[in-house]
């Protein structure tokens, strides 16, 4: 993890272009809905860079359509609060029955994207969800709370879901399938609304103070094993 020079953002090299784990779950759930109830799936992204590759991954995974909302070069670090109106505009045009987002990601730091979209579009929204099933004009999801408690929640469509877990682990897509898509043109759109106001300029990042953290045990695996054994024996834990 590297901080960017201005301490306003991280060094983006670090993130790479991989799909975030929860977005990966959301993508899988969308494709599962395509397979189970013949949903037509559109994947959208609002990125200054890396978006095309991400959307190609989505195509390789089985979505029907993609759309890249073009952002300025300087907009690499836009927060969800800033991006939400851009997404909302595209969603209003696409007019889906259901919007799925990952519950949290490296560019959705507070896990706020799904609830922000629900609020802007005035559609019902549930975050930390799993077990998405559709029946007629409604969708039922399991919402998880702390301590393993949960509830089954039914929402009238259109609705927004911040997804935690897809009904099945994300599928593997062979590299060859991605290579086949290298030449595909990704449709783009230019937002006509302004990004939302956020707190980016009021925020600075810092590495956590590591003093007061763990006492580190040095050495190779054998040495570490021996030392841990010692610590456990000393405390009567083994």
């Amino acid at each position: 993890m590297e901080l960017g020079e201005d301490e306003r953002d991280i060094d983006r090299e670090w993130i790479g272009l991989e799909l975030n784990p929860f977005d990966d779950q959301a993508l899988e759930q969308a494709v599962l809905l395509k397979e189970s109830v013949a949903a037509r799936v559109t994947a959208i992204a609002a990125e200054a860079e890396g978006g095309e590759r991400m959307l190609k991954t989505a195509l390789a995974r089985g979505v029907d359509e993609v759309r890249l909302i073009e952002l300025d070069e300087e907009a690499v670090q836009l927060s969800s609060r800033a991006r939400a109106p851009l997404y909302a505009e595209a969603i209003a045009e696409i007019a889906p029955d259901l919007v799925l987002t990952g519950v949290l990601s490296t560019d959705d730091l507070y896990g706020e994207l799904a609830p922000l979209l629900g609020a802007i579009l005035d559609w019902p929204q549930v975050s930390a969800a799993s077990q998405v099933t559709q029946k007629g004009a409604s969708v039922t999801v399991r919402q998880e709370y702390s301590g393993g408690a949960a509830a089954m929640v039914e929402m009238q469509l259109p609705a927004v879901v911040g997804l935690q877990t897809a009904s099945r682990p994300p599928r593997y897509v062979p590299g060859s399938k991605l290579r086949d898509l290298l030449k595909v043109e990704i449709p783009t759109s230019e937002p006509s609304v302004e990004p939302g106001a956020d707190l980016a300029d009021a925020t600075t990042l810092e590495l956590p103070d590591s003093s007061g953290g763990a006492e580190m045990i040095d050495g190779n695996a054998e040495v570490v094993a021996e030392k841990i054994h010692g610590i456990l024996s000393e405390r009567g834990l083994v």
């Binding site: 393993g148 009021a202 990042l205 810092e206 763990a214 580190m216 570490v224």
Partner: protein
Amino acid sequence: MRCLIYVEHNGGQVAESALQLGTLAKSIGAEAVGLVCAGDGEAVADLTRQLSGFDAALGVADPVVSAYNAQAAAKALTQCVETQAPDLVMTSYSTAGIDLAPTVSIKADLPMIGYVLELAIDGDGLAAVSMVYGGKLRAKTEIATPCIVAVMPGAAKAEALAGQPAPNAEMIQVDLSGLAMTVVETLEPESSDVNLAEAEKIFCVGRALGGTEKIGVAEEMAAALGAELAGSRPVIDAGWMPKVRQVGKSGTKVKPKLYFMAGVSGAPEHLEGMEDSELIIAINSDEQAPIFGKAHYGAVCDMFQLLPALTARLNAGK
């Protein structure tokens, strides 16, 4: 400064995280006003009696909110924010908080910060510290009031206000008709013979396990330690272990004598479930893993080398 706190509860008990919000509000000299939504007036009164040290409470009684309903709760909280005009709105950074804080921030047009760990008065506004990027960085934000903060469970101590008088709820009317959301069923955690909450020793493995092929390594480690085997969320989501073995925000909260962990990064959602353990020993191949900020002992090494070595040593010593 007036602080409006959304009060979560479960099975007739106010959530500890809600009481912690009261402590945090008082610690910055704010007046703590709880919003209690429950199925009927009696339930609101019972819950409000648990709000020791709160200065006031607002009650919403409606069968629709006898269990948490994201849309209903957002309507109630938004209405309170608009009519009461608090300087600060607090939710826990729980499932409900993730629903409510951003929703109300749009509906009431207020700035919002999540994952808040520390909060202080800063001139006319507030300074907040949150954990971001899975706990790898701290973000410091200066924010003007009125605003919304979603606070990590554990950021303040619930006991600090214990024994102080609780307020009476002032009932308010919120129109909760015509919702597009119904809670069909509430589900309690599955019971099973795995009881992490009571376990004395836990060995927890993270995403680094990589698949079920290597689960034997983890099982043998747990057996050699005489510990219960547990996993982080990705381990459960991938289907490598059943849900009853998940530790963390959306799993079980544990407090064993020994929490030994390997291949777990130490994201705030994981820490929430295990940070009160008596002895935490963490193995991770990344020296910058946030877990080293919380563990008592740590070692930077490959768990696939360390675990068999430690297992062999423990088995030999028996």
